[in-house]
Symmetry: C2
Subunit: 535 residues, 2 copies
């Protein structure tokens, strides 16, 4: 055998690898020399940290590895140099987040405590032995119903009696840990902890029960007119700080009213949008005043309701969505149905109202794209998996999750060819037990097949993955192909596949490109000083 | 909207589903009406058991579900009607099993106890506190070295002193549980238990440490000339009882000699094959005498060594393989390199000897196909993942595992077009922590892409998935698309993609078809009596 045989083999090998990766969307952009240099440095840092920080022993973490279970690995992640780098990266758009789960639970509690109208009740007096299994029920009451009950822990507490939030906290029994433990109890009821995700609720069905329960708790605080705008403002601001420049938030319009300042459930959807619009204008103005308008292009709303309603009930929501779109054309970005696909109604059950919705839009001269959740499942040929066929046939603009898309060769081709982007939520998928670590996530299959992808956080308030840095981090450390250029393409694709149109989209992308160039430049400058840490 | 719109939609939907599944290899066979009926019944039983037996509470199983972790779910699986049905199914060929891990550990211990030459030693006296962390080291000794040491638990035991296996068992201290606990200790050292897989060793790196350790233990018993034929005989017989009609076993030829009856390490590879051939002839004759020759077509050997040797050392093994092929052309089926791909040498490191091997075969007029392990990894672009490119470029006939193949669109097409079958080992992959349950396994992606697949057990003695029934079971309950016709295609494909040639292969398939028809017939007869159980 001659050396030329080996050379010929290696040439054929390089050609095969190249062909295999030819669909990748990060193959077609030629990075600047600065970006190529930054990409190399990031790979070096990743490799160095994989064999240093991820190989150490941690008392509370039995088996650390890059891409590990997020809720256990989080405390390591935040200590890495890679995380610090990514936190400064311009992320593009956040296209898949449920508004009700976008703001830090402790912030929500803090603003709620300023509202004397907010009350809390429980089905039995809280004690040391029952506190871990009892959830708070929150609601704003009319002033004439304000409660004098002293606390949830008082011997005199009667089941389901309202206690003002401020009293419930202030008088939380010292034997249970006092106000500090009250906070932990409330915050814990709105989040998933590692023991739940990886032990007591370690199946898809069980973790969804816990997941849903967090919304039942937080809705009592968020769906209150004085809280709602503050909540949205915090969401926008923390997103901007994380490098997110545009948002399409899913809002759950299932409840037809929000509770007003008077404690009555009387604020219709139209007013929700007015509040959203006001906060949006205010934050944009503030950014402009700081000369940072490029960092926040804006935000829109994907109208959602839950897939347990009847097809007849869906008609009402579709008409409601049409009415809102007519009044707020700049705010309504699309329509979706949400909830656990494994247990609720499949899209095909709603086919009549959904087809009618398209007709109605034509009549009204509107364009409200479907942006459906579909295939958020491990099922193979299950109704949840089959939702993908309907989402695509109904012309969905993007797919929420699409976790099971990788099983469908024809649908993969369709997504690539028609530019149907997937809103991929790696940390959400892992915590909701579709995958055990980011290493098992099907994202590399999508990328190698050239399916456009936007990384998303889904429900960061519940999962603790605020912003997009954590999701980008998990993706970056879970693949040796993925580099800074891949993340750049993911960020750009999030804007490319937003519902922004012509001029707006061009502006958003141009602004992001400027941020990106600045990010690379600052990274290289910063890194030159710290080369010794890596080498 | 008109009813005709809905009808048109549903027609388009059916066409899309059909197109999406058009690569499936189970789409092209038209089942007999009996098979179609059996397929429907099996689906009914599966659905009934999913909502009965899998929804019950089990004291020792926190969260049962179909397709769950095998080591925890096993005790439920064996109680199902579906398992009883599949245990009678003709499985076709077993194409991926490492001989050293194919026979029940308790059987191995039983036959070992009949050999006075077999001895055992440990690095320190066994006590209640150290027994769970100490592994036995077995070896046959020459008669003049037979030991009189009383036991491993005796106060007088000196570290690393040999004790005869019979004494070690008979005198195992009663405070440690006596002979029964000795058996448990030895058997446990050759298997992976649920606590190890799902708790203490719950990462790929850690479980591989435990996995490798089981081979270090069992090799001392198996690699002994009086044991080896008995071991192979049991492997063949239990495989036949499970419905396996043909076997290609991977034998590890790393050690150049086996220990002979005289306690000397002096039995060369040639003699291993003679023993294999003798047992094979004997078992075939026995089956023929029983009029069951259709149930066992035969067995062949895939020559393997371990991917930690140097390229220079590999040359020796390749020449050894060629010599054995010349003498036993009917036994040597192919060549492979085994071991943890994530940590050992990639195929590309051996490219020179491997290319030379092809040349040498041409010179010798031989055909020894590569049947490489490749892509048994969660890596994306890692060396283990990249092994897939080399396996395919080197012309591998099949791929062992190919777990990461689904990330490679071009390689998937190549496997479909060239008929490169994947040896898929669902339970092995789950226990070795590539996937957390069969639900997350990429098999459905392979099937929908039309990649030929043979289900395999890999190392059933270590995992407890003896035969192929367990692997077929896990696959059947993890997908709503998969039915009896899919399993039939998988079984047939295992023969189709074996190294059997022309006439032999035809005979094997014809024999299997007869068995299959009988299986369907008996299933339908049996089932008619028990319809009430399902309905």
């Amino acid at each position: 055998m001659m050396a030329s045989d080996v050379a010929a083999y290696k040439e054929a090998r390089a050609a095969l690898i190249d062909e295999d990766r030819s669909f990748r969307r990060d193959r077609h952009s030629i990075p600047s020399s600065d970006e190529a240099k930054a990409d190399r440095l990031v790979r070096e840092i990743r490799a160095a940290e994989a064999s240093s920080i991820w190989k150490q022993e941690y008392p509370s973490i039995p088996h650390p590895f890059p891409g590990m279970e997020f809720l256990t690995g989080r405390e390591i992640i935040v200590k890495t140099q890679l995380f610090a780098i990514l936190s400064k990266m311009p992320k593009g758009a956040l296209l898949h987040a449920h508004l009700d789960a976008t703001v830090n639970a402790s912030f929500l509690l803090k603003i709620a405590l300023k509202q004397p109208a907010l009350h809390v009740r429980v089905p039995q007096r809280l004690t040391a032995s029952n506190i871990s299994s009892i959830l708070p029920h929150f609601r704003a009451l009319p002033q004439n119903e304000f409660s004098n009950a002293p606390s949830l822990t008082d011997m005199s507490y009667e089941a389901e009696t309202w206690v003002s939030l401020q009293n419930a906290r202030g008088n939380f029994d010292i034997s249970l840990g006092g106000p500090e433990e009250f906070d932990k109890w409330v915050i814990g009821s709105m989040m998933i902890n590692p023991k739940e995700a990886y032990d007591t609720h370690n199946t898809i069905a069980k973790i969804w029960e816990k997941f849903i329960s967090t919304f039942m708790v937080s809705t009592g605080l968020i769906r209150f007119a004085p809280i709602f705008p503050e909540y949205i403002r915090e969401f926008f601001k923390t997103s901007i700080e994380d490098g997110i420049s545009y948002i399409e938030a899913r809002i759950n319009f299932l409840y037809k009213h929000m509770v007003g300042i008077d404690g009555q459930e009387n604020i219709p959807h139209r007013d929700w949008l007015l509040m959203f619009d006001d906060v949006l204008k205010e934050v944009k103005a503030e950014m402009k005043a700081q000369g940072r308008e490029d960092e926040f292009i804006g935000a829109r709303i994907i109208y959602t309701t839950i897939r347990f309603i009847t097809p007849e009930e869906l008609d009402w929501y579709l008409e409601d969505c049409i009415a809102l779109k007519k009044e707020f054309p700049h705010l309504i970005a699309g329509f979706d149905l949400v909830g656990n696909e494994n247990e609720l109604k499949p899209l095909i059950d709603y086919i009549e109202p959904l087809l009618r919705f398209r007709e109605r839009q034509k009549e009204e001269g509107l364009d409200i794209p479907f942006i459906f959740h579909a295939g958020e499942t491990l099922g193979d040929g299950s109704v949840a998996d089959m939702n993908l066929y309907d989402a695509i046939l109904l012309g969905t603009k993007r797919i929420g999750h699409g976790y099971s898309l990788v099983k469908h060769p024809k649908l993969i081709d369709t997504c690539r060819e028609k530019g149907i982007a997937l809103e991929v939520c790696p940390i959400s998928n892992e915590i909701l037990r579709l995958t055990s670590s980011t290493l098992m996530h099907p994202l590399p299959i999508l990328l190698n097949n050239g399916v456009p992808v936007a990384l998303c956080s889904d429900d960061p308030a519940v999962f603790g993955n605020m912003g997009l840095t954590f999701d980008f981090f998990q993706v970056l450390v879970s693949s040796e192909i993925t580099g800074l250029s891949t993340l750049s393409k993911l960020a750009r694709d999030s804007l490319e596949h937003s519902t922004l149109d012509g001029e707006e989209k061009r502006r958003a992308i141009t602004a992001w490109e400027k941020q990106w160039a600045k990010f690379i430049e600052e990274f290289l400058r910063e890194h030159d000083r710290s080369t010794c840490l890596v080498a």
